[in-house]
């Protein structure tokens, strides 16, 4: 039966070339955009180095301090008793409200004191992604972002080492003057990425030995993206010595599984409740903002209410809405085209039903035909998308971030084609499947 459907689908398409061209143009253009969008989301949110364990990670990158106060309302009643005034006073406490607010990443000291030994954590790292330095190489000024990290940074984030090694715990303890560079940074500084291990680089007044060379992480993930990675003990001493709560460091915790994230977040929240505040007159309430990878990404776009989970909801709602709108418009257009195309075939549908096709088989046939059309459009869209991705990557429209097209994007593309085909074919097919046989046969005799 499907062989017959395929045969008919191709013949119907070939018989109406103008309609086929209009349909394919709409489908392929829409699917091209959707495939590029999928590639973008895959690049941004997919499990790629150094974030292959992203679904096991919990970030703590915001120490929020507040002064919460309640207004006291006094009521004084004055009465005259035996010629003398008498006072009676009562007071009520108002709603708790926020007077002062301060939010920032943490100091190393804070993390060191309060964020170790969180239950359910398999590995964790404290690091600061907030430093940048100007360097000079071959008469050129370069600006390098630097991340100061502990040795477990390399255990949590699995960077691809092209050469050399990461710094180890003993390097950190010994304040070894070492650095891990990205390939691009090595090219910029040394003019090559070959044989740079063991060479020295001058940064922040230090001569740093290059011990490792890594691939470039997507620069949209600023918390792992830098040109240079150094042991945190090389961080400016004043920063390390700061015993306050807010500084340039953040923490990442890796659970045994994605499910463990929730208990880690709860453990951090309950720990926050027991941390004594240094100056309660100024701030009397402490909150530690934790986020999953997706939550953190969404919070970067919609920083709402110090809540990555709310930000993720907003992101999904707005992103989903826009995506729906983007899919809906061409789908409605295609539905319209399909209705007029299929109506021309009402006599055929009538004949099929007269010879024993029930509504379900007519529905299946027409949806199937539409899926064939969508897949042809999808194939064209795929080729266009590959061309567009090449151009976007080649022109470095997104900086160093290279949009990826892989098996997962391909699988999503197939799924999108299938959904697009079903949705745009279902309504016209359903209408046709409900046609009154005798009336349908009277039309368009062949």
């Amino acid at each position: 039966m499907f062989k017959n459907y395929i045969k008919l689908a191709f013949k119907v398409l070939a018989q109406r070339p103008f309609f086929t061209f209009i349909s394919l143009f709409g489908i392929s253009f829409t699917l091209m955009i959707l495939i590029v969008l999928t590639a973008f989301l895959e690049t941004e949110l997919g499990a790629h180095q150094p974030l292959t364990q992203k679904d096991r990670l919990v970030f703590m990158n915001r120490v929020i301090m507040k002064q919460m106060t309640r207004d006291t309302i006094w009521q004084v009643d004055t009465t005259l008793e035996a010629g003398a005034p008498k006072y009676d006073s009562t007071f009520t406490l108002g709603e708790e409200r926020q007077s002062w607010y301060s939010a920032s990443t943490a100091t190393y000291s804070f993390l060191d004191r309060y964020m170790r030994d969180i239950p359910g954590v398999e590995a964790y790292s404290f690091y600061s992604p907030d430093f940048s330095y100007d360097l000079f190489a071959n008469g050129n000024k370069l600006s390098f972002k630097a991340i100061y990290a502990d040795a477990s940074f390399w255990a949590v984030y699995d960077f691809q080492f092209l050469a050399g090694r990461p710094f180890r715990a003993d390097d950190v303890t010994a304040q070894a003057q070492v650095v891990v560079l990205t390939r691009k940074a090595a090219r910029d500084y040394f003019g090559t990425d070959q044989g740079v291990i063991g060479k020295h680089l001058e940064m922040d007044g230090r001569q740093l030995e290059v011990i490792g060379l890594i691939g470039q992480p997507a620069n949209s993930k600023y918390f792992v993206s830098a040109e240079a990675y150094l042991p945190l003990t090389l961080c400016p001493p004043a920063v390390l010595a700061d015993t306050g709560f807010q500084g340039p460091f953040e923490a990442v915790f890796m659970g045994a599984s994605p499910i463990a994230r929730e208990s880690i977040q709860q453990a951090i929240a309950s720990r926050a409740a027991n941390i004594p505040l240094p100056n309660p007159e100024e701030y009397n309430y402490l909150e530690l903002m934790t986020a999953t990878f997706a939550g953190r990404y969404a919070y970067g776009i919609f920083p709402v209410k110090d809540s990555p989970s709310d930000a993720l909801r907003t992101f999904l709602l707005i992103g989903g809405g826009l995506l729906l709108l983007f899919i809906l418009l061409p789908t409605l257009n295609l539905i319209n085209l399909n209705v007029s195309r299929i109506m021309e075939r009402s006599a055929e549908i009538g004949v099929r039903k007269a010879f024993g096709a029930h509504s379900g088989s007519i529905l299946a046939q027409l949806v199937f035909e539409n899926i064939v059309l969508t897949f042809i459009g999808g194939l064209i869209g795929l080729l266009l998308a590959l061309g567009l991705l090449y151009l976007v990557n080649d022109a470095q429209v997104m900086g160093d971030t290279q949009l990826q097209f892989n098996a997962r994007v391909f699988a999503w593309s197939v799924l999108i084609c299938l959904l697009f085909g079903i949705i745009s074919g279902l309504l016209p097919a359903w209408r046709m499947s409900q046609l009154h046989i005798a009336n349908a046969i009277k039309q368009n005799p062949s």
Binding site: N4, V351, F355, A357, H358, S359, A438
Partner: protein, 221 residues
């Protein structure tokens, strides 16, 4: 075989009510070749469509092979049409995008028949109407008479109990018309097919076993 009792069909719009069929009672026996005649608009095709379960009466009862059709749901009716009925239309109604062979196979697609058997059965049906040599052609490459022969092959391929023909010679010249009529007579005489045919042609109608005349929706003979 076909028993129509008090069949009435009324077409209703907001302002007009048209009675297409008025209390028709008709019995068609197995192996019978019946023709229905009458002026245009008298309800011949409507009656044939109701017999073929592709239109519903406003009132009345239909029994096919002793079974009341009112008890059938749409899926059962589709199966019944597929297994028991074959249709021949005045305008042929072949699917232009499919080859002659594929057109003839159409009723078998909706049965559990392997593609190999489908092909065999379709070839046999085409052989009966003398068009096996044209099975790779498309309807657009055939004459009117050839198209109607393909339509007959499609109607008989599933070996239905009843063939319903709506003016099968109406779009053909007399030579072609006679050719088609001879095929139908042959099917009736040799294969004992029950045939109900709507026609305007008195000569064709006289070749059948029985003639029913309609006038303004009522049976007059």
């Amino acid at each position: 075989m076909i028993h129509l009792q008090d069949i009435t069909k009324v077409y209703q719009t907001k302002s007009i009510e048209t009675t297409a069929l008025n209390r028709i009672n008709l019995q068609v026996e197995a192996g019978e070749f019946l023709s229905i005649m009458g002026p245009s608009g008298c309800g011949k095709s409507t009656l044939l469509n109701i017999m073929g379960l592709i239109d519903e009466p406003t009132a009345g009862h239909i029994a096919l092979n002793g079974q009341q059709i009112t008890a059938y749901n749409s899926r059962s009716m589709a199966r019944f049409r597929n297994e028991q009925l074959g249709f021949i239309f005045q305008s042929f109604h072949l699917i232009g995008e499919l080859s002659v062979l594929d057109n003839v196979e159409l009723p078998l697609i909706y049965r559990k028949v392997s593609s190999k058997d489908r092909r065999k059965m379709a070839e046999a049906a085409l052989e009966q109407v003398g068009l096996k040599n044209r099975m790779r052609h498309f309807p657009g490459q055939l004459s009117g008479g050839q198209k109607q022969r393909v339509a007959i092959a499609r109607a008989i391929v599933g070996q239905p109990k009843v063939i319903l023909a709506d003016e099968p010679t109406g779009n053909l010249d007399s030579v072609m018309g006679n050719e088609i009529m001879n095929i139908l007579l042959h099917l009736n005489q040799e294969q004992k097919a029950t045939i109900v045919m709507v026609t305007h042609d008195e000569t064709m109608a006289r070749k059948t076993h029985r003639l029913v005349r309609l006038f303004d929706g009522s049976q007059v003979l």
